[in-house]
């Protein structure tokens, strides 16, 4: 037998593999290319155009009604938030069902075997996937959201107070949900990770609405439901911040004030986001992303 039991002496330094940055960017570009070549892009584009056309038709009907300027701005704010919620839901569905196949699916099918046998770090590979997915999801909500803002401007002449902040928060909400899906995709099957992520997204939104009702009714216990869920999964908190930036400042007063019912209404937000909450969202993404990387590095392929 020719096998020697002594460890061989270290060889000359091996030629360096792809640098970590090059790996991250290559994988991110690959993920974007996958998104653009899979049917999910076509489905997203069709849904987006349908929502845009529907809202343009709705807003043009609104413009025909005899409303006071205050009423018009309130209605525009509410409907804009409603359509934006539609977009964020479409983005959540689209990216959640893209993240599952691209990570868990590749591990199951064997595509990952050939790729991860290259001289690359798994953490760099995962970061590249995440970056590609975030670019795709955020790109979608920003483009679709901007198109909707322009539709509103053209039909009812309403311009949100801080559109850049609003769109950035929508993009952040997508990134948060994606990070969760990436973590799930390192552990469970492609379909399950998508379903669980979208399920949690919707649950947090409902918990947020319940919490707002609790606040409006002065019931602290019920209000806690929203507060706790917003800390556990920051999608709803970021969404409320985005709504606040889309809606006209006078809308809350028009609706009857924050403690009179506007607070309980799901498509108006009474307060802008605090810096602390934004910081928490960033920490949350880092934490869950780190957890996903740790799980992925230890995974036997």
């Amino acid at each position: 037998m020719t096998t020697s039991d002594t460890r061989p002496a270290p060889d000359r330094p091996a030629p360096p593999g792809a640098s970590t940055l090059r790996t991250v960017l290559t994988v991110a570009a690959l993920t974007l290319r996958e998104a653009s070549r899979r049917r999910v892009l076509l489905a997203l584009a069709a849904l987006t155009v349908a929502l845009l056309v529907l809202s343009a038709w709705g807003f043009s009907r609104l413009a025909g009604e005899a409303l006071t300027s205050g009423e018009a701005r309130l209605t525009a704010s509410i409907v804009l938030n409603l359509v934006m919620f539609g977009f964020s839901l479409v983005a959540a569905l689209g990216t959640a069902f893209l993240a599952g196949p691209t990570l868990a699916g590749e591990t199951e099918s064997g595509i990952a075997l050939a790729v991860l046998s290259r001289p690359i770090r798994r953490s760099a590979f995962l970061l590249g996937k995440w970056l590609g997915l975030v670019a795709f999801g955020s790109g979608f909500v920003v483009v679709a959201g901007l198109a909707e803002i322009l539709v509103v401007r053209a039909t009812v002449d309403y311009w949100p107070p801080s559109p850049v902040t609003a769109l950035a928060l929508l993009a952040a909400q997508t990134a948060v949900l994606l990070t969760l899906t990436v973590l799930l995709a390192t552990a469970v099957s492609p379909m399950a990770s998508g379903v669980i992520a979208v399920g949690l997204f919707c649950t947090t939104w409902v918990a947020g609405v319940v919490g707002a009702i609790g606040t409006a009714l002065g019931n602290d216990a019920v209000a806690q439901v929203g507060a706790v869920s917003r800390v556990l999964l920051p999608t709803d908190g970021l969404w409320r911040g985005a709504m606040n930036a889309f809606q006209d400042p006078s809308a809350i007063v028009q609706f009857g004030g924050a403690d009179q019912g506007a607070g309980a209404f799901p498509f108006l937000s009474v307060a802008p986001l605090s810096a602390a909450y934004l910081a928490w969202s960033a920490v949350w993404v880092l934490m869950i992303g780190g957890l996903a990387a740790a799980a992925y590095i230890r995974k036997d392929l």
Binding site: G17, A114, L116, S117
Partner: protein, 334 residues
Amino acid sequence: MATDSLTAPDGAALRAASELVSALPPAPAAWCSGLHKRYRKRTAVEDVSLQVGRGEVVGLLGPNGAGKTTVIKMLLGLVRPDAGEAMLLGRPSADPAARARVGYLPELFRYQPWLSAAEVLALHVRLAGGDVSRAEQAECLSLVGLGGRAADRVGGFSKGMQQRLGLAVALVARPEFVVLDEPTSALDPLGRADVRDIVLELRTRGVAVLLNSHLIGEVERVCDRVVVLDRGRVAASGTLAELLGQRELRLQLTGLTPAAQQRLAATGRVDTDGAWLTVAVPADDDGTAAPDLVADLVALGVRVHAVEPVRISLEERLLGILRDGAASRAGEQS
């Protein structure tokens, strides 16, 4: 001397050390020692040690579930061993840089269906950090018979074509060590011949190959050395000459005397099959055993009607090793 070089000025110590290291023979292409892996309650690999030298073609043989693919994945750092060490081209397998000059065709081969064949190769070249020109990549596709399908999406490829693409992926980044896990499972006879030619070509270029295949004939034709795994352990290993060294003679004799029978038994184990006798020839035979035996038998008054050398095939040897293993396990249990 060591003290001298350490105190020498102007980086002479460094130079001396680098000369010392460069004078060492290169580390083996792959080396592992005492690898263990359990999946829940099932032991997949137990105390496996093996080595693939530079430029050497080593065959990995064994029945289904023997742990061949798990050993390969541990060598490549795709599966974490529970115990033991593995090194690739002189670096620990856990270090991604160890795989910089390694090509791998997995048993479960699938490539991004939304990419074209050429794009898959370009991706792997980028990830390998190599500098392989487009022309060389195209040449690699031609080598595996996909020259005309470079621009086609992988999603439309048959299994056989995907396996050919996998072979191109394993070869594209100028590897020094290539791992082929069942490289012909989806190929037709022509494709198998192509793979054989490619492995032989790699050997002439000094590229080490670890070949896991069920097709024993394939392994026998291209491998310098064979490692047989059975139930997660190394059941046998050695060069083909070592493993197949044992040969036999088939003889048709009449007029056998007790003295002649003694002479036969002195050569090796004797089996009788009707009119034919089979005698095992020692492994260290230098070619004199057969003529000496025949001359002695004739001198003892035996009439020799026919003498045939019998070569044991790798397949028979492998079955023998696996059956011996099963028999000794049965013996331990009873």
